[in-house]
Amino acid sequence: MTAVDLAPGRTGDTRPAGALNRASAVGLGVTMTWFSLLVLIPLAAVVATAAGGGIDGFWRAVTNEQTAHAIRLTVISALVVTAINVVAGTAIAWVLVRDAFPGKALLELVIDIPFALPTIVAGLVLLALYGSDDSPLGVDVANTGTSVYLAFLFVTLPFVVRTVQPVLEEMEPEVEEAAASLGAGRRTIFTRIILPTLTPAIAAGATLSFARGVGEYGSLVLLSGNLPFESEVASVRIMSAIENDNPAAAASIATVLLIVSLLVILLLDVVQRRVARRA
């Protein structure tokens, strides 16, 4: 019927769906070639360029006082913001799943906005509320370290909420009811039953939130002012190195971020496998 009908009438083919047939072998070749050209080779080029200056060059680039400060600020703010997200995200997921009130569907929508909103727009609107002379709140954190936290909080908002929410939805209230009928108080139910079930999901959301924070760029360009030793983050340092035509330094800082990201991915993988095993 169709041109690509490779094996018409192959009745009785009881091969498991797993075996690679010719079509999927070609598909695998094409997709992996594209993936290599788009992602793997370019990332290898980053590492190779960083290594090209030798270990000395790499070390000099990342321990440059200004760069080291930027990396430290980035990692610390990402950690703090992730800690806030763990609490706030779990609370938000809890309210979305267990509470009922008019307008709840609207909150669902609000959670997704930071994920879909262009980061430059996020920076612009945060600036309008928290960083301008005519701020309706009378607050001005523009060009300070605080603005980095604010931007990170905005862009990482959905991660913990969206990983915790489905787990919370699938939890059976019967277990909690049983615990309650056996005399467990609210606090005991929360720490002994709810929290352990949610922990892997919270961890998964936290790693995503941390990785996103570490690499964040767009929401900061207008908001943070990128002041050295004050509000300059790692990705901004990379950008200035690129603009100053110093790809080796840019690649060195990028490699540090890549290593951090890779560690985060590995952690996420371990966590997810543990979740799968438990389920």
Binding site: V4, D5, L6, P8, R10, T11, D13, A17, G18, S24, G27, L28, T31, W34, F35, L38, V39, L43, A45, A88, A91, W94, R98, D99, A105, L109, V110, I111, I113, F115, A116, L117, P118, T119, I120, L124, V125, L126, A128, L129, F154, E176, E177, A180, S181, A211, R212, V214, G215, Y217, G218, A234, S235, M239, I242, P247, A250, L257, L262, I265
Partner: protein
């Protein structure tokens, strides 16, 4: 303690406090700031939007943004559905690693994405760039670079929607179709595709939203030449820094509008799918 039996259903003071805190937090962090893009854009009625659409350069910016986003979305859709099928339905060496690598773009800074592409496809010093440019293919500082940067950043979105659905529907129907004589393509088109249709649609919409709004990676690879390689997000930065705040807000409003519409579309579709 019989009163605790339905602890989680009672609406005690704690539940109310939590609800209030969550609403206040989301209002201060998201709703209020985002609403300001609307008020700033329409401060002088439709003047700001009229200025934006009256400026040939800005219209070119918007057109380029749309074209690059559509191409990147098309590529990621085909690639995403293909790799999802392979990851769920076949076995090949290194599958676990490939599966983990697919999430890599989520954890990489957009600036690093841009840098990585420049290092390979840059016209003067890139690994492949000089050869490609000698052959007449310009990638960095041109539209292909913008498309690649966008495709890189948005890569996992289709996969993350389609893989769970493929895992859930299983292979029974596909095997039945195969045993009745359907070829792989026919099975895909008649059985697999209809069951992953909505997941693909969500993935496409999310990819489109992400593609239209990509900033950091595009900033590195595009060269930001007005009328040629400047995209909408770059124009927002440019206009804001050049004291054309009204135009900056107007373009930001258009971008925010599209992304919010995308989220609304997905949530309506999901709600409908849940009901069925």
């Amino acid at each position: 303690m019989p009163e605790t039996r339905t602890a989680h259903r009672s609406r005690g003071p704690v539940a109310h406090l939590l609800r209030f805190a969550v609403i206040a937090y989301l209002f201060l962090l998201v709703v209020w700031p985002v609403s300001l893009v609307v008020t700033h854009t329409f401060e002088n009625g439709f003047d700001a939007l009229r200025t934006v659409f009256g400026d040939a350069d800005t219209v070119a910016v918007l057109r380029l943004t749309a074209i690059a986003a559509l191409i990147a979305t098309a590529i990621n859709t085909v690639f995403g559905v293909g790799i999802s099928l392979l990851l769920v339905r076949s076995d090949f060496p290194g599958k676990r690693i490939v599966s983990s690598l697919m999430d890599l773009p989520l954890a990489i800074s957009p600036v690093v994405v841009g840098l990585s592409l420049v290092l390979v496809y840059g016209g003067t010093n890139g690994w492949f760039g000089p050869v490609l440019e000698a052959g007449g293919v310009k990638i960095i500082f041109a539209t292909p670079g913008i498309v690649m940067a966008t495709a890189f950043v948005a890569l996992p979105l289709v996969i993350r929607e389609v893989v769970p659905v493929l895992q859930e529907i299983g292979t029974e129907q596909e095997q039945a179709a195969r045993s009745l004589g359907a070829g792989p393509w026919q099975t895909f088109r008649r059985i697999t595709l209809p069951s992953i249709r909505w997941a693909v649609v969500y993935g496409v919409v999310l990819t489109l939203a992400r593609s239209l709004g990509e900033f950091g990676a595009v900033k590195v690879v595009s060269g930001n030449i007005s009328g040629q390689t400047r995209t909408a997000t770059l124009a927002v930065e440019e206009k804001y820094l050049n004291w054309e705040q009204e135009s900056a807000y107007a373009i930001a409003f258009l971008l925010a509008g599209v992304s919010v519409l995308c989220i609304i579309a997905v949530s309506i579709l999901r709600a409908r799918a849940d009901r069925n």
